[in-house]
Amino acid sequence: MVTADTIANASPAGRAHGGPGRSSTLSDGFTLGLMTALLLLWLLVTVAAPLATLLVKSVQNNKGEFVGFANYATYFATPTLVASLSNSLWIAAVSTAIVIPLAFVYAYCLKRTCMPVKTLFLSIALLPIFAPSLLSAVSLIYIFGNQGFLKSWLMGGEIYGPLGIVIAQVFYCFPHAVLILTTALALADQRLYEAASALGTSRLRTFLTVTLPGAKYGLISATFVILTLVITDFGIAKVIGGQFNVLATDAYKQVVGQQNFAMGAVVGFVLLVPALAAFVIDRIVQRRQVSLLSARAVPLEPKPNTLGDTIATVYCMLVGGLIVGVIGVAVWASFVTYWPYNLTLSLKNYNFAEFEAAGWAPYWNSLLMSSIVAVLGTIVIFVGAYVVEKARGLPAARGVIQLLAMVPMAVPGLVIGLAYVFFINAPWNPLGFLYGTIAVLAINSIAHFYTVAHITAATALKQIDPEFESVGASLKVPVHTTFLRVTVPICTPTLLDIAVYLFVNAMTTVSAVIFLYGAHTKLAAISIVHMDEAGMSAAAAAMATLVLLTALAVKLAHIGLDRLVFGKLQAWRGR
């Protein structure tokens, strides 16, 4: 009775407030609808349209007439181009066959032993991520090149060519494989090992029947990711490939060298095939991985084992030592006055104006571009993920956004770069004025790295109670207020993660932007390619070092900031 009375009494009051209440819901729908529409437009323009242009270009001749699959026929009839394809494939196969076992053992040491200083070993394994892929190639030239100090170790062999490419790729891909495999090996049910042990199982059989099947999907996923990375990487083959042609360098030569856009587009599509295959397989594998681990599984805790831990430490010191060594050589070489005649250390190689006209400008351009990517990219991607996860209306539009957000993952940087060249230069495109500006470089980079950032944001948003918006609405608070007062503060650590990820990748990428820079917007990573091409390896090493140090500084600042944020502002997490 009492309750009924209260409700009855309250309802007129509710009606009195009905006006503003309803208009707030209305404006909420409007706000979300507007955001959804804007996001859809953004992704259509920055992802869908360029890729569509590339597709169209590959079935047109250089005059813009439709020729069907003639370009593809020409491609497969040109022996040098087909040779590049097979070169790319076997280089990728060999590199992957070396990287995966190396990284698996490394990840195993990190996750399944009690060796000391694991964080340090993990950090060392991840170091190459913070440098452009060319850094390892530049370093290898210093070690094994024509004037390399260990050239004799090759016993007459040549570092310029497949050998150099494979070694540099192994180095460059190692952190990516370690990241995937540590995740795969981190998920394990201790009870399975106990059951095996109680049944008197040998270590080998336990490894074969419990450990390997548990990491199976991680291994498959890592294999395809590394294959794709190697096939689509441009910088390494460019710097250390010599006369050895691969797909990625072909695309560059066709477009930049010969202005043969049609053939460039075909190469772009050929590059897309392995990447798409890897993407699809990775998706399938991830879905299975989840269903394998039961909710009641007890996480595996490695037990100390003096012999095993010692072997693990020695192995990680060897591999980690090689990584530090390769990076160290490039850094050291950048300070050597005149290799190999004057080994005194100086900052001479950092006086870039002496090596190329642009001087330090490419570095500042990179810094500016990466900052724009980090800030603008984080906002666009986070709002996009919010719309996909939390909005209710316009299901079709949200579905398309979700799909377009996943596309960049399957598209190699080189292909995105090519697509942008064709798109921006198309005579019908009103955005043509952007060609060669920092803006187009930034937009291109946001599109290039969209997927991983989007998945990160979506994962964080999924963990937030879906009723927050309903509570906000019931309190008659507009949705943007709930977004800014609750969602954004809760997701601050994620926002930082995304911003740093975007910054580091924008700073180190070569493949996409090499087609897009203009006279005044050359980037640091491109300037490394150019200085290396011109034979100024020391300056190239100096620029690579600068990029590495910048990316590392930002990452360290991130770690520091993260601690601060978690310590002070995130007190509610109850840590």
């Binding site: 049910d189 009870r191 399975l192 106990e194 059951a195 095996a196 042990s197 109680a198 049944l199 008197g200 199982t201 040998s202 059989r205 029947t209 419990v210 099947p213 199976k216 269903s291 394998l292 039961s294 009641r296 599984a297 007890v298």
Partner: protein, 375 residues
């Protein structure tokens, strides 16, 4: 009520006596276990007899799982010794200890079929392929899963997975079966059915079995003897009837079943005083006269409604009645100086002859033999 209680006791006492006569199978001597500074077990001593079904019962963190894992050798004890079948296994790895184990999470190998899971331990013993197939078929029949042999664990229900885990543990014909909360991940109906099956299988095979559980009902229904644990120590060992009717401590009384607790002052060896009201108890009080002791009585032993004239006859007032199917729980406020609230369970059958309403005064009797005194 009292006669019903003793009737339930009879077979339990008999079982306890019977197992007492059998040889010792597992012997735990002064076993302690530390995790860093945390003392998980404090010199535990226990003998387990051949063919006995033992339950380690206690709240989470009481050390029951730690003790089981020490017996298995999965987490060896810090101090003390463990004997299985007269053999000192204290330093032996799990594989050399002769037991089968079933985990709460089943821990079936997800990449192997049901048959391969059951035969997993047999392969390790280098048994012939034919012999393995034969044994696997036999075990699957025992647990009633002969038609599921080629399926993978994900394709089975939780109850079926647990049966596979049981078959795998029994495959090598161990003399000792260890169960780590094997039923707690299942839903209530399946749990009860599997509990009965487990019990009859254990009886049939005459297998010494140790089961860890935090569910007192499960322990009561399955165990020959219950080992009640708290804070790394054994509080009491006894048949289900013993630990229920004669709890050694307030902890055991509170953990198993429900009990009303209140403080009273010692007057004599069997006499107490609750405020100004005199109380008698069947227990022999060890504490000195004038000392404060904790007193407990189970809700079903409180009698209400009878004319209050005998020993421990009190009066009170009904504060609330809640219906529980077979019985009603009546909340009473005793008419003494310090307000004391007690719960009394009245069988539904008896309630029909009474008229109880909130606020009504009522006579309350505490039969002395059910008034427990804890130091």
């Amino acid at each position: 009520m009292a006669s019903l209680q003793s009737a339930a006791d009879a077979p339990r006492e008999f079982v306890a006596d019977a197992t007492g006569a059998r040889p010792v199978h597992v012997s735990i001597v002064d076993v302690s276990k530390r995790f860093g500074v945390f003392q998980a077990l404090r010199s535990v001593n226990l003998n387990i007899h051949d063919g006995e079904f033992i339950c380690f019962l206690g709240p989470s963190g009481c050390g029951k799982t730690t003790l089981l894992r020490a017996i298995a050798g999965l987490d060896p004890q810090s101090e003390g010794a463990i004997f299985i079948g007269g053999r000192d296994v204290s330093r032996l790895p799990p594989a050399d200890r002769d037991f089968g184990i079933v985990f709460q999470s089943y821990a079936l190998f997800p990449n192997l079929t049901v048959a391969a899971n059951v035969g997993y331990g047999l392969v390790n013993r280098r048994m012939g392929r034919k012999a393995i197939d034969h044994r696997v078929a036999e075990l699957l029949e025992t647990v009633g899963l002969e038609d599921q042999a080629s399926k993978f664990p994900v394709q089975l229900s939780g109850g079926q997975q647990q049966r596979v885990a049981l078959a795998r543990a029994l495959a090598t014909s161990p003399s000792l079966l260890l169960l780590d909360e094997p039923l707690s991940a299942l839903d209530a109906r399946v749990r009860v059915r599997l509990r009965d099956e487990l019990k009859s299988l254990q009886r049939r095979l005459g297998l010494t079995t140790i089961m860890v559980t935090h569910d007192q009902e499960e322990a009561m229904g399955l165990a020959d003897r219950i080992v009640v644990m708290n804070r790394g120590e054994i509080e009491q060992v006894g048949s289900p009837g013993e630990v229920y009717t004669r709890p050694h401590s307030a902890f055991v009384a509170d953990f198993i079943g429900t009990m009303n607790f209140f403080d009273a002052e010692v007057v004599g060896t069997h006499q107490l005083r609750l405020g100004e009201t005199a109380l008698e108890t069947g227990d022999t009080i060890g504490a000195a006269k004038g000392a404060k002791v904790r007193v407990g009585i189970r809700p079903e032993e409180l009698r209400i409604g009878d004319a209050g004239s005998g020993t421990n006859a009190l009066s009170g007032q009904v504060r609330g009645i809640s219906f529980h199917g077979g019985f009603c729980r009546v909340t009473l406020l005793l008419d003494i100086e310090h307000p004391l609230e007690l719960a009394a369970d009245v069988p539904a059958q008896r309630l029909r002859g009474m008229t109880l309403a909130v606020g009504q005064p009522v006579a309350v009797t505490m039969p002395p033999e059910h008034v427990h005194v804890f130091g």
